[in-house]
């Protein structure tokens, strides 16, 4: 790729047919897969390494494509193809962890994804437990629902009202400051939110070892509010001004206009944003580790005693196992699977709400 050759006219040189890159890709994956298969058959070791095949196959494809293209199409086109394949490779690289993670979580989580897992707590469970009581995550699921529920109850009104302030009322310095700091709040590390809740309640109740569920909810609120504000703000801004003006023209007061016209118009988008915000905080571990603590028993009371949450269940099952590690790991993976299913379900619901209830746009 010298400077002289970079002046080739890419319109006059020969072109590779459209199917060539795809054929090359399939070919290189096939070649590498065969190689891996041969090595595997020779050493009869482990399972088939699909990640390695895709990765090495893609690299082989990149090299082949660039070489062929520079021979046929000239240096400029070859460089273009090189970047194209780099960019596509980047995408494949990002997919690898996702595939590996999904596969592992489903394969390992499935073992303990049974009825007992959802109907029992970990109270008095040692190791694999007994045939009848293998231990489960009910206490953690209840804790997660309560803590996240309270966090939602606090952050939705606050977040929505702030968004209304920013869009409908806010002018000048204060509004700009709120916008800026809401943006900054998005970046608060979750553990700092937990430490804040701890520092706050430890000082107020004068209890240096304080652990309770409501504190966890406060920490999650801190993480949830910026997401709610940002998404609601975007949605409120989308409401056409004509609707507001029509309402004012009929003599409707401003607050009623907002409550009866603006919010109903944007409610689908706002609900989507809230659902996504819940999905974001329901998997938070660090703040709950600090302020809600962990326990093996059921605790329905947010204001008294340690409270387990599902992400923390996964963490403690992994980090504090008994002498027989495997049952704890199985429970951890089952917890991880449950968690991912919940988050995915929330994301799906959010998308569905957005799609079904979206106001028809004029365009």
């Amino acid at each position: 790729m010298t400077t002289a050759s970079s002046l080739t006219n890419s319109f006059t040189t020969a072109r590779l047919p459209k199917w060539v890159p795809w054929a090359l890709l399939a070919g290189s994956w096939g070649v590498i897969a065969t190689l891996f298969g041969l090595v595997q058959a020779a050493s009869d070791s482990q399972e088939f390494n699909i990640v390695g095949v895709v990765f090495l196959g893609t690299i082989l494809f990149d090299v082949l494509l660039v070489t062929i293209s520079s021979l046929v199409e000239g240096a400029r086109k070859a460089r273009d193809r090189f970047v194209t394949s780099l960019v596509s490779t980047a995408f494949v690289i990002a997919l690898l962890p996702l595939i590996s993670l999904t596969y592992t979580v489903i394969a390992d989580g499935w073992k303990r994804f049974d009825i007992a897992f959802f109907t029992q707590s970990m109270r008095n469970i040692i190791g694999a437990g007994t045939e009848q009581f293998p231990g489960g995550a009910l206490h953690a699921i209840v804790g997660t629902l309560e803590i996240t529920g309270v966090a939602t109850l606090i952050s939705v009104p606050v977040g929505l009202l702030s968004a209304i302030y920013l869009v409908e009322y806010g002018r000048g310095r204060l509004a700009r400051a709120i916008t800026f700091f809401v943006d900054v709040m998005t970046g608060i590390p979750s553990i700092v939110a937990g430490l804040f809740a701890f520092a706050f309640f430890a000082l107020i109740f004068d209890n240096p070892g304080i652990r309770f569920g409501f504190g966890g909810a406060v920490a999650l609120t801190l993480l949830m509010i910026p997401t709610v504000v940002r998404s609601s703000e975007e949605m409120l801004k989308l409401v056409p001004n004509e609707l507001r003006e029509a309402s004012y023209a009929l003599g409707v007061p401003k607050w009623l206009t907002i409550v009866k016209v603006v919010i109903p118009t944007s409610i689908a988008g706002i609900t989507t944003g809230i659902t996504l915000a819940i999905a974001r905080v329901i998997g938070e571990t660090a703040p709950l580790l600090v302020i809600a603590g962990f326990t093996t028993s059921m605790n329905y009371n947010l204001f008294e005693g340690r409270m387990m949450a599902l992400p923390l269940f996964v963490y403690t099952q992994y980090s504090i196992p008994g002498t027989d590690v495997q049952p704890y790991l199985d429970r951890a993976w089952a917890g991880a699977l449950t968690l991912i299913l919940i988050v995915m379900a929330l994301n799906l619901i959010a998308r569905l709400i957005a799609k079904i209830f979206a106001p028809k746009s004029g365009r």
Binding site: N9, V87, A199, K254, I340
Partner: protein
């Protein structure tokens, strides 16, 4: 936004109590957010002071001063995050370009969802995956690196037998910050003025030359702020570090050893449940330092983004 702002003094709208209550409560909510952020700073500082004034001997590792206790933590935090960013940035630039300029439009949206899925995975699941799948997977590579490139200071022997090194942590962190960097870059690339792109193509540029001359210069501020947002996320990530890293209170750049500098967030998660007395305050003080670091990084990123918005034609 609203039309009432231009009322003349003569025709002033009647001010109803309900109106005032409603606007007052929205204002209160906005102010509450600012207060909450201020409260975070105030209460963290209040709980940190005991650790700052305490006799250093009482701190967890009995260092000679509080700052000696913080130094390895701060170093590890920045080092791990920087490594993660180094890996994540090129890949997410590639993905963002792929989605915005390479993939067919119908596929592009689906691909965007897939990358967003990565962001939806809870960090504790990433931690479990990192320790159970990734660490054993990369350990042989580390052993090979140390055997063959041990003379490079980054790979000084001995190699970690478990793969639970700072490089593994950085890989997982990179995967976790990919979606946020990709999302911001994608937005910026999509805002490139259509005419710039078409002008480049009309002059006979290949797709890469078009991206190189039109898209990347336009998106540069966006890329920088995306990188900083990713950095902020990586700095504060807790569970992955707590689960994957095997920490020791050291400061060095070795990527593949078994003694790794810990990070602030990971250290808090590991030690907070058992901490007591001034140890709790010391951990909160490190949390305060983390808060300040991320606050600076995030504010800088936001300033860059906001300034760009001001003169970008795409928002006009």
């Amino acid at each position: 936004m609203t039309s009432t702002s231009k009322t003349t003094p003569v025709l002033r709208a009647k001010s109803r109590p309900a109106d005032r209550i409603f606007s007052g409560s929205t204002l209160a909510a906005g102010v509450l957010i600012l207060t909450a952020l201020a409260a975070v700073a105030v209460f963290l500082i209040a709980q940190s002071i005991p650790a700052l004034v305490a006799n250093p001997e009482e701190l967890p590792t009995s260092p000679s001063s509080f700052w000696e206790y913080v130094a390895p933590l701060a170093f590890g935090t920045v080092w791990a995050a920087a490594l993660a960013l180094l890996m994540a940035l090129p890949v997410s630039l590639g993905i963002a370009l792929f989605i915005s300029h390479y993939a067919p439009r119908r596929i592009a949206q689906v691909l965007g969802y897939i990358v967003d899925l990565l962001a939806a995975v809870p960090s504790v699941v990433f931690g479990l995956w990192g320790i159970k799948v990734l660490a054993p997977f990369v350990q042989p590579f580390y052993a090979w690196l140390v055997d063959n490139f041990g003379w490079i200071p980054l790979f000084t022997p001995p190699v970690s037998g478990t793969g639970r090194t700072i490089l593994t942590v950085a890989i997982v962190l990179a995967v976790m910050v990919l979606p946020i960097i990709t999302a911001v870059c994608r937005e910026v690339f999509l805002q490139t003025p259509r005419l710039h792109e078409e002008a480049a193509l009309a002059l006979g540029a290949t797709r890469w030359e078009m991206i190189h001359t039109a898209v990347l210069p336009f998106g540069m501020p966006g890329i920088i702020s995306a990188a900083m947002l990713g950095l902020g996320r990586a700095l504060g990530e807790t569970m992955v570090v707590a689960m994957v890293l095997s920490p020791a209170m050291v400061i060095h750049f070795v990527l593949t050893g078994s003694a790794n500098p810990p990070t602030i967030a990971g250290n808090i998660a590991l030690n907070f449940p058992e901490a007591h007395g001034v140890g709790v305050n010391a951990l909160i003080a490190t949390g305060l330092i983390l808060f300040i670091i991320t606050l600076i990084v995030n504010s800088a990123a936001r300033v860059v983004i906001n300034r760009r918005k001001a003169f970008s034609g795409a928002n006009g």
